[in-house]
């Protein structure tokens, strides 16, 4: 546009909209941005939707959360409830709980907003998690997107932090017990645990400070950090451009998809309203966190079958799985007069620590093992990276075992089995589950790859049985068109990278380990079919296909 304006010095917009646009543009220079992004191409795939769901549920969280702050009072001062919910009239409770009840019962639309906020929060963490699974299983974290993967991991942690700090705010019995558990876990930290607990709660548990402190974190610090991370995340998406699934016409040097304006923007923008609509439906019909049923926090009562919000479940489940005593040996130990509460410390920190460490570092681990330092913009179909997919499934199953353990009592009562047996089984699965998942997933991925080869080379089974003139029965295979075939054969199949000596001619121990890992990654591999193989395949059994195709055209 600037080139045009130098050629014709006075550009005059013809329409009113044009004049307004020109006014803004000539002062802030928007036309450059529009030129760059107006027709930017975005690939389209249903699995790219999860990140959008995350973004949109965050926007909904900001909107509904702002509404709630107008009515919520994060004070732990004692009061007697005087709202319209009869069963709790006159009950002693904190101002925070009382104001949460008022939002639910005395503010029109307050309950709806609370429900929208809670459902959106659950959906936010869930969509972040599923989005990350998509990114992991398709290899989208590879160069140049490693740093964006790290930002995503930080976002997951922040999302969980936002969820947990918000969960505790209503100061009801359920969330109070959640805080009690957190306090117990914090106290188990060696040396500084007691101090951290006293500093967090402003003294002994529960104190009178924690709700207002969590409130500040929940409405200011954590969302600000999330917003910052989202900006970085999206900025990097723009810099890198979006990844795309493999297929005809797509390679590492291009982006195939729809232009931002109008199709992609319309679809993505429309999708925001759909996410909002679905959350509104859930808020309308499914009760979430009915705090009025729980009553105010009191350290004495507790209701059985209580569960934390889903994303904290895996830590709670790990706490349940850990045995406190092994025979007569106590897992909690006293060394030099100090208490090491391993029965709390280990399950609270180790599984989450391993999961997050592997998650954060995985792009670099894989890069080191594969020696693959190229830029990747075309995604892997999960089956085409069997070992990575198997590692991911092992981690996923491990997570799910811990998650299931958080509901061990519900599993026991629901299925009428012994709670102790459920725990014993889950303890076994904690160790065995990931191994089984790894083996099964890898075999399934390899089998799917072989099936792809089979289809690429011999065509698709049509289910039509044909009897040949000499009496033989065959099933007709319909050959693929070249586009469909390319989808099955157009992938990279990395090979084992043997150990290589360094510049001094020495194969270092680290390099040997790398080579071992590389073998473990890639020794089982199914190579993509080649044109030569297709030729050969046509050589055997080819006549049948041809004959069948002939029959087909005859019958029509």
């Amino acid at each position: 546009m600037s080139a045009a304006s130098t050629a014709e010095p006075a550009f005059v917009a013809k329409t009113k909209t044009g004049r307004i646009t020109d006014f803004v543009d000539s002062r802030v220079g928007g036309s450059g941005i529009l030129r760059e992004f107006g027709r930017k191409v975005f690939p389209d795939h249903w699995s790219f939707m999860f990140g959008e769901v995350a973004l949109y549920s965050f926007v909904i969280l900001l909107l509904s959360g702002t509404f709630l702050t107008f009515f919520f009072d994060p004070s732990m001062a004692e009061t007697h409830y005087d709202g319209s919910y009869v069963p709790l009239k006159g009950v002693e409770m904190s101002v925070a709980y009382s104001s949460s009840l008022n939002i639910s019962f005395d503010v029109r639309g307050g309950l709806f907003m609370r429900q929208v906020h809670h459902w959106a929060a659950l959906l936010f963490v869930a969509s972040v998690a599923v989005h990350m699974l998509r990114v992991f299983f398709t290899g989208a974290f590879r160069r140049p997107r490693e740093m964006n993967w790290v930002v995503g991991c930080v976002l997951l942690i922040l999302a969980m932090a936002a969820g947990f700090t918000g969960y505790s705010l209503p100061d009801d019995l359920l969330s109070g017990n959640g805080l009690r558990i957190i306090d117990g876990v914090i106290k188990s930290i060696p040396v500084i645990g007691t101090y951290i607990s006293f500093f967090l709660f402003g003294g002994e548990f529960p104190g009178t400070a924690i709700i207002s402190r969590l409130y500040m974190l929940h409405i200011l610090l954590v969302p600000a950090l999330i917003l910052l991370m989202i900006v970085m995340h999206l900025f990097m998406v723009v810099v890198h451009k979006h990844t795309q699934y493999p297929g005809p016409g797509r390679n590492d040097n291009n982006v195939v998809g729809y232009p931002l304006g109008p199709v992609y923007a319309a679809k993505a923008g429309g999708f925001f309203f759909i996410v909002f609509g679905v959350i509104a439906l859930m808020a309308a019909f499914f009760t979430i966190n009915p705090i009025w049923n729980y009553g105010p926090y009191d350290p004495s009562p507790v209701s059985a079958g209580t569960q934390p919000d889903w994303y904290i479940g895996f830590v709670d489940g790990a706490l349940r799985l850990m045995p406190g005593t092994l025979g007569n040996w106590h897992v909690e130990q006293i060394f030099f007069g100090h208490v090491f509460t391993f029965n709390v410390l280990l399950p609270a920190l180790v599984p989450a620590g391993i999961l997050f460490t592997v998650m954060f570092t995985y792009p670099w681990i894989e890069r080191w093992v594969t020696k693959d330092d190229r830029e990747h913009h075309v995604l892997d179909r999960p089956r085409n990276a069997p070992t990575r997919t198997a590692i991911g499934m092992a981690g996923f199953v491990w997570y799910c075992v811990m998650w299931a353990a958080a509901g061990s009592d519900l599993i026991a009562t629901h299925f009428g089995v012994s709670l102790n047996d459920v725990t014993y089984w889950l303890r076994a699965l904690f160790f065995v589950g990931p191994i089984i998942a790894f083996i099964v997933t890898k075999r399934v991925a390899l089998a799917l790859q072989r099936k792809d080869r089979e289809i690429a080379l011999h065509g698709r089974e049509t289910g039509r049985i044909v009897r040949l003139p000499h009496g033989e029965f065959i099933e007709v295979h319909a050959p693929l068109d070249e586009y469909k075939r390319y989808k099955l054969v157009g992938f990279e199949s990395p090979q084992v990278q043997p150990a290589v000596p360094n510049e001094h001619g020495v194969v270092t121990r680290k390099e040997k380990r790398r080579a071992l890992l590389s073998r473990w990654f890639f020794e089982d591999r199914v190579a993509p079919a080649t044109p030569a193989e297709l030729e050969a395949a046509h050589g055997h059994g080819h006549e049948a296909v041809e004959a069948a195709e002939g029959t087909k055209s005859l019958t029509h």
Binding site: I181, G184, G207, K241, F273, F276, D298, S300, V344, E482
Partner: protein
Amino acid sequence: MGNHSDGSPNHSGTVATAGQNEVEKFQDPGIPPHRLRLADTDPRAAKRAERQVALLFGISVVGTLIFLVAYFAIDLGDDSSIATIRLQNALLGIGTAFAMLGIGTGIVHWAKALMPDHEVSEERHAIRYEEDRQAAVRIVDDIVEETGIKRRPLIRNTLLGAVALAPLPAIAIFGDLGPRPDDKLAHTMWAPQDGKRKRLTRDPDGTPIKASDVTIGSAFHVIPEGLNELEEGKLNEKAKSVVLLMRLDPASLNPSKGREEWGYNGIVAYSKICTHVGCPVALYEQQTHHLLCPCHQSTFDLTQECKVIFGPASRPLPQLPIAVDDEGYLVATSDFHEPVGPSYWERDSHERSINS
């Protein structure tokens, strides 16, 4: 079928051999030819899609109206029933859902049915150019050179020292977030005050419990006398001092040495705060004499002085020594002989100082 299914590696050469990646690959056939939609070819279909989109937007308007009617027409009043709240919540939700889904599905349908659906290909550009990189390196070098930081190590080292120390106040300033723990966790309200032993009272109303009220098999949730009258820190004290009181057949209790006098006629009192992470151990199985924590399922056996028999807890529940006063009410003869609740770093030294 049979003659095509031998996809096993050894038969059809699926296992890659060295140099396989040099073998020619299938050529990329390019983006598949564009297929026209019904609305592209049939003007009537396009018109129909247009009307559908308009209808969806119309549904959105209806949704907004439903919301407004539900908001203004339903009066919560002072004595609104749960049913009114539920009705209003459902209508507000339905209204919002229609309003949003109408717009959303309308736009998406518009995009999918009527906007051009040609897939286009765009070149990716290098994330950085070698020329830029070299220029950037030169700039950084120049900047570093102009500061002279390499030539003046005195400046560099003092700056490093200053910057390393500067965050300390930012940490120290949080020192008043809470008081020092000292031995607060080691003591509860049960300690006799001015020689007067505290009665065991019912949770939550605070009425004292007569020993004769406690029948075999019964269990009481107990708080110390005077807890409800506390002006400040009531929950803090309650979080440490809640107790479960049960009566068993004295023969099934097996008190260890020194604890024979801690119960009364088979009545025993144990801390209700789980030694795992502090949930209330609220479930009492009368038949098995087990106490179960509903949070993480730690199970304690009353007949073995609340030893852990299952779950993640590692220590038995602390026992509160009790007796009966002149009027027949149950009283605590002393505080717990160990800190209650979850373990903490200083717990062992606190326990030793209590018992010394």
